[in-house]
Symmetry: C3
Subunit: 152 residues, 3 copies
């Protein structure tokens, strides 16, 4: 808050960078909604946007139905059928059958998502959660950048 000789009051915008680390244990969706929300509360950003950016090319970020676990299971199953591991035309497979499919599933979904913030709360709809969508079979450590821009 900047006050100049009592006549001007304005709120300055700021940028806050945060990192999340998540350990995954096979294909599927891992919810990170609360992890992101807690970063917003921690920096006290009242009004702005948060950008969730996953720093990998074999997993994604998606906003998905957060109430029924079967919706996430069906989503994973759809992608496994749409991008089968045994496709005979893949040439990028040095890391195994789930190597190339993981990049394709990532390109079909999202690397980042930007969500509005009002009064320190993400403006998600009732059934929206933020998820990391892991496309690899083996356990992985995933880095997610959380950038908050707005007014305190």
């Amino acid at each position: 808050m900047l006050t100049e000789s009592g006549s001007l009051i304005c709120t300055l915008m700021h940028v806050h960078h945060n990192q999340l680390e998540l350990r995954t244990n096979g294909k599927g969706l891992y919810e990170i909604t609360e992890n992101v929300q807690s970063k917003i509360k921690a920096c006290g950003m009242r009004n702005g946007t948060v950008t969730v950016f996953v720093q990998h090319t074999s997993c994604s970020v998606v906003i998905m139905e957060n109430a029924d676990p079967t919706a996430r299971r069906d989503l994973k199953e759809f992608f496994d059928r749409l991008v089968p591991e045994e496709a005979d035309y893949f040439t990028h497979n040095s890391e195994g059958g789930d190597d190339m499919p993981s990049h394709i599933k990532m390109a079909l979904t999202r690397t980042s998502e930007t969500v509005p913030i009002v009064d320190e709360e993400m403006q998600l709809g009732t059934w929206q959660g933020i998820f990391l969508f892991e496309h690899r079979r083996a356990p992985h450590r995933r880095n997610i950048s959380v950038t908050i821009i707005g007014e305190m």
Copy 2:
């Protein structure tokens, strides 16, 4: 615009949140380009970005060809064939055959889109329009958050 003893002139950045409500009447694309543009004009944001964020998991936001209606019809038809309602492995179907396909089509497209603003105008290409992509058969009321960040 902040002037301090005549020596410093700088433009402060601001955040403006807006809501759009749209009533849909079955699957397909509904253009919202002018609705978004009018929010920018209304707040007088000259220079920045606008983030259009749909607060649901059974519809999407997409930027699509805005001139030929057949392009939108073919897009809808492609998604209906790619994600058929009668897939026998779906278990999340309490709201009917278009329940799980709507979440999958959402994940395959986008929940938000961020567009640059210059001189109060979105910098869309000639053939780009912003559309809500409805994936449910029944009429729905859809909430869209429009966040404008930039300089006045």
Copy 3:
């Protein structure tokens, strides 16, 4: 940096708009990571985000594996098989067989991507590059908007 009577020091946020022009020569991925990074260096933005927005509906922006060219070739091949040119139900084909498939591939990928910036560097993961994904056969001139928001 704004200093007011010695008691307040704060960094003001700014918006910088830039344009990239890229000539493509057929379907496939064209890396633009360094083009975007050089725009950040040129304006000296230290801390914030960059939004890369492609102003067309027949090409996309994707973040993809940047090390092995076969990963990009397999990605292109997957999309060519997922959205075949000869689909008999397409009605939007006035510009040829790759007309409607190019819009569908665009909707399945992304029109924009937002990447965090720390110390003038995009916070991409080790294997992440930013690519324009061209979906048309013929050579095209592509316009990409690069919007940098943050603190100097």
